[in-house]
């Protein structure tokens, strides 16, 4: 075959029709990432259309963990539904309880006693730290760094010990209920918590030295999966993903609940590389920015917990007579700032004790939508990096 033409150009690389003999061409491959895959954080299934190491398209498929969580809410009383909210975002049970409890309180016009409110804030922020620790650790794992994962879980374990002391559970707490919290703090809990906060503040710099500012880690995550401000707003991203694109939006500041307006804290947002201690090469909206926002938020949460524990008032921790309350014929929609973004609950009542409609707006579900856009034309190794930086919990995506 003397007249065979050998040529390789970007056009022929992915062109199936140009099957002339001798043409150098590669073929696309469809590959299933998940639902059982080490770095899809649960049962997310992403179908990748790849050309060698390049991922041309990544389409997330969901629904492997659907448990009718919303429908159950229309069959049980609100205080009975609280444990189900734990199982949505199972890494941030406290925050989920808080969101649903706030919705019920606003629907029924219940006043939470000041002690209950303060305890709620402290626990929600502790759980924010615990959730961000898991996010940080598994993100390191996605990048192939095993050790930060165990450090993060070591500290998370201590938070879980604190939770266990207060409510007896380590994962699904059901501690925050409509009207306040269902138990008072045990003796010397505040001192234990303060001891932990002292210890934990020193550990954040450890994570930074080991992972955040690691040259390889920065090279792997900066300029990868960049989400522009328009995309972030257009896709309805919330939480660290939104702030990682440089938008200062946090419900704890913009629409405070549970008395967050009385606390002094900052909303960390992403900044371009070179400012502050952010390494060169980082741009606003990339994976490293989203990761970094979580690290900074942990410091802010520590600040909030200190203030809450410092001003812990005496008195009731739960409003009286919270069982068998009749829900008025009305509907409310309440959003709170979950570790992953805005978790909203729509609750409608019909003068009975059981809600006629419960609907949740999950931050992970909304944040996951950006995957398809962010994973276009990236390397295969970038896909775990992007999905990990969005930090989804499949329990809450599928509900």
């Amino acid at each position: 075959m003397a007249d065979t033409v050998f040529e390789a150009s970007p056009d022929t690389m992915i062109d199936y029709d140009s099957s002339q003999q001798g043409d150098l061409r590669t073929e696309e491959m469809l590959i299933n990432m998940g639902p059982q895959h080490p770095s899809t954080h649960g049962v997310l299934r992403v179908v990748l259309r790849t050309d060698g190491e390049m991922v041309l398209e990544a389409i997330p498929h969901i629904g492997y963990l659907h448990r009718c969580a919303e429908k159950i809410g229309e069959a049980v009383q609100p205080y009975q539904y609280v444990p189900y909210t734990d199982r949505m975002d199972y890494l941030a049970g406290m925050n989920n309880n808080q969101a649903f409890s706030l919705a019920i309180e606003r629907l029924c016009g219940i006043e939470v006693p000041p002690r209950g409110e303060t305890i709620r804030v402290a626990f929600a922020e502790l759980n924010r730290i615990a959730s961000h620790l898991v996010s940080l650790g598994t993100y390191g794992l996605d990048m192939g760094a095993f050790t930060p994962f165990l450090y993060c879980f070591r500290e998370r374990e201590m938070i879980l010990d604190l939770f266990e002391a207060a409510c007896g559970a380590r994962l699904t707490y059901s501690y925050i209920t409509p009207g306040g919290v269902h138990d008072d703090l045990p003796a010397s809990w505040v001192e234990r918590c303060l001891e932990f906060l002292d210890y934990f503040e020193t550990k954040i710099s450890d994570y930074n030295n080991l992972l955040s500012f690691n040259h390889i880690f920065v090279k792997r995550t900066s300029r990868v999966g960049v989400i522009s401000i328009d995309d972030a707003i257009g896709y309805g991203l919330t939480g660290p993903c939104l702030r990682g694109s440089g938008i200062r939006w946090d419900l704890r500041k913009t629409a405070p609940y549970d008395g967050y307006e009385n606390y002094d804290f900052d909303i960390p947002i992403a900044k371009p590389g070179g400012t502050d201690e952010i390494p060169e090469g980082v741009i606003v909206g990339d994976c490293w920015s989203r990761y970094w926002v979580r690290v900074l938020e942990m410091t802010e949460s520590v600040k909030i917990i200190r203030q809450a524990l410092g001003r812990l008032p005496n008195g009731d921790f739960i409003a009286p007579k919270m069982k068998n309350i009749k829900l008025p014929e009305d509907e409310v929609y309440v959003e709170v700032e979950n570790p992953r973004g805005q978790l909203g609950f729509l609750v409608a009542g019909d003068k009975s004790a059981i809600p006629s409609r419960v609907k949740a707006r999950g931050p992970s579900f909304c944040n996951l939508c950006i995957t398809e856009k962010a994973c276009k034309n990236v390397m295969l190794a970038d896909v775990p990096a992007i999905i990990g930086s969005i930090d989804v919990v499949m329990g809450e995506v599928d509900r």
Binding site: M29, P38, G144, R154, N214, I216, R220, A381
Partner: protein, 528 residues
């Protein structure tokens, strides 16, 4: 051919169930042995471990002494006395014949002492030792023992070090003392596991692939010297042999990836191929530095050129060798698929890469090969750059000890012996493990960039520099001699600083661990 295959098949049909039955009988036997023997072994764990190490060392030493005795006191004296060799056919040189037992007895009488008194028995015991094939079998046994022991205990050690790095304990239960028999227990488990071959896999290739991995890494030990005389075959091209043999491993990985009929495995294989073409050239370039400096490919001779203590090690001979050593170490990480270059089996991206579909004994073959290859490249680094089996003390200090057998033992421990080679390998292995549990993984394009655009020009430059340096050193110029001496002592001083700083920092960390890690961790973690 078809008849042969038919016979094989019929043989399998007849003997297959018997083999299966034997296997089935072996399983409860193994479990019962473990249940009964486990507690006893756990009680005596430390003693067993120490006595096993001592027995291995004494065994190797005794064999070396025996071979030396036969060579020097019997064969050489017999040859000089003009004894006709009529005993048997010699393996090493077909033209010669060995001594008969009675001729050996005559020689033993001449040696005198215990040897003469025991010559009645010893003549028959020593008779086989004079033949190369017997010695090779003994050496092969030692080699296979090493090849089994080294990966098993490297894995155990990796798990212990990783545990400590991650504020865990690592294996603590199996065998008693620090889980010392965790890896053998894992090995038995893997042996007894089902050998799965996935549907649609290319079964012959799938079965074949692990051997392409494990045989080359075993072959590398053939030419790897542990000491001046402790080498199975002293090859003049040992360096090229080891490099070439380790290169074959890539074939096994690619076969495994392709034959598995799994897309993730194919990714692993392609990444390995991609990585191989990028690290192999800088690795080869870095290996050329000692060759250029010493002018030989014979590993024993390269080590001989580095005798004379710490400052005479090749890594300190010139700034180019110093940087070349670091480049070699980085490239060797890539060649062993170790983090941060563990892309072919990147578990968070490719599930397990080329290993995804493997299980049981075949999976453990890949692991054995990987850890053995780690030891081999660490051994190469020690031999080529870090003085091989020479200790940091100059051997001339031991001249006063004389040449008695105990003096030779002391010299072996203090100045040059296999123990130093193993110690250096273990330290380099530790560094590899340390790096693995600290750094994230890099991306495939970054591997290519690092190897082709950074390491390759760097090693080429170092090779050029070394060549010029060696060429300049051939001149008789006294100023240049002074320059080389100063370089040697400056670089050696930097090395000494590292050598002292490392244990010092470790000791500081150990004594201040409560302040560094935090009270909460210290109180919560057992044993730390």
């Amino acid at each position: 051919m078809r008849i042969l295959l038919w016979k094989l098949w019929m043989g399998y049909r007849i003997f297959g169930p018997i083999i299966e039955l034997l296997m089935a009988m072996f399983r409860p036997f193994a479990v019962a042995m473990y249940r009964m023997g486990g507690p006893i072994v756990a009680q005596m764990a430390g003693m067993i471990l120490i006595s096993a190490v001592v027995a291995v060392c004494v065994g190797v030493w005794a064999h070396a002494m025996l071979f030396g005795f036969v060579d020097e006191s019997i064969l050489a004296t017999a040859a000089s006395a003009g004894v006709e060799l009529t005993g048997a056919f010699s393996y090493v040189s077909p033209a010669t014949w060995g001594l008969t037992p009675s001729q050996i007895a005559v020689q033993l009488q001449q040696v005198g002492g215990v040897a003469a008194n025991m010559s009645g028995v010893a003549q028959y015991l020593l008779w086989p030792v004079q033949f190369g094939i017997v010695r090779d079998l003994v050496g092969l046994g030692a080699l296979m023992g090493l090849f089994n022991i080294i990966p098993v205990y490297t894995i155990w050690w990796e798990r212990k070090v990783a545990g400590r790095i991650q504020s865990r304990l690592g294996p603590m239960r199996v065998g008693g003392w620090h889980g010392w028999s965790q890896s053998p227990a894992d090995g038995i488990k893997l042996l007894l596991k089902e050998d799965l071959i996935p549907d649609g896999a290319d079964a012959p290739l799938f079965r074949l692939a692990p051997y392409f991995n494990i045989i080359p890494s075993a072959l590398a030990f053939v030419a790897l010297p542990f000491g001046a005389t402790y080498v199975f075959r002293e090859l003049d091209v040992a360096l090229i042999f080891i490099l070439g043999v380790l290169g074959v491993e890539v074939l096994g990985v690619m076969l495994a990836g392709w034959a598995s009929n799994n897309k993730w495995s194919v990714y692993g294989a392609m990444r390995e191929a991609c990585q191989m073409v990028s690290y192999e050239i800088p690795l080869g370039m870095a290996l050329l530095l000692p060759v250029v400096t010493t002018g030989t490919l014979n590993l024993t001779k390269i080590v001989d050129a580095q005798s004379g203590g710490w400052f005479h090690w090749l890594v300190f001979s010139s700034p180019f060798a110093f940087i070349g050593f670091i480049a070699f170490f980085v490239a060797s990480l890539a060649s062993c698929k170790r983090a941060p270059f563990d892309l072919p089996e990147a578990e968070s991206e490719l599930v397990a890469g080329f290993l995804t579909e493997y299980s049981g004994i075949r999976w453990s073959f890949f692991f054995f090969a990987e850890y053995a290859a780690m030891f081999v490249v660490c051994g190469l680094a020690a031999i080529l750059f870090l003085g091989g089996w020479h200790s940091p003390l100059p051997a001339s200090w031991g001249a006063a000890l004389g040449d008695a057998w105990y003096a030779r033992g002391v010299k072996g421990l203090l100045f040059s012996g296999p123990v130093w080679f193993v110690a250096k390998c273990v330290f380099l292995l530790y560094v590899q493990i340390w790096i693995r549990w600290t750094l994230p993984r890099i991306r495939i394009d970054q591997v290519l960039y690092a190897c082709v655009q950074v390491l390759l020009p760097l090693t080429m430059l170092m090779l050029l520099g070394t060549t010029v340096w060696v060429w300049a050193s051939t001149s008789e110029c006294e100023t240049w001699a002074m320059v080389t001496a100063i370089t040697r002592y400056v670089l050696g001083g930097i090395g000494l600083m590292f050598a002292f700083a490392f244990p010092a920092i470790a000791a500081y960390g150990f004594y201040h661990r409560r302040a560094m890690v935090g009270n909460l961790v210290q109180d919560a973690m057992p044993g730390s």
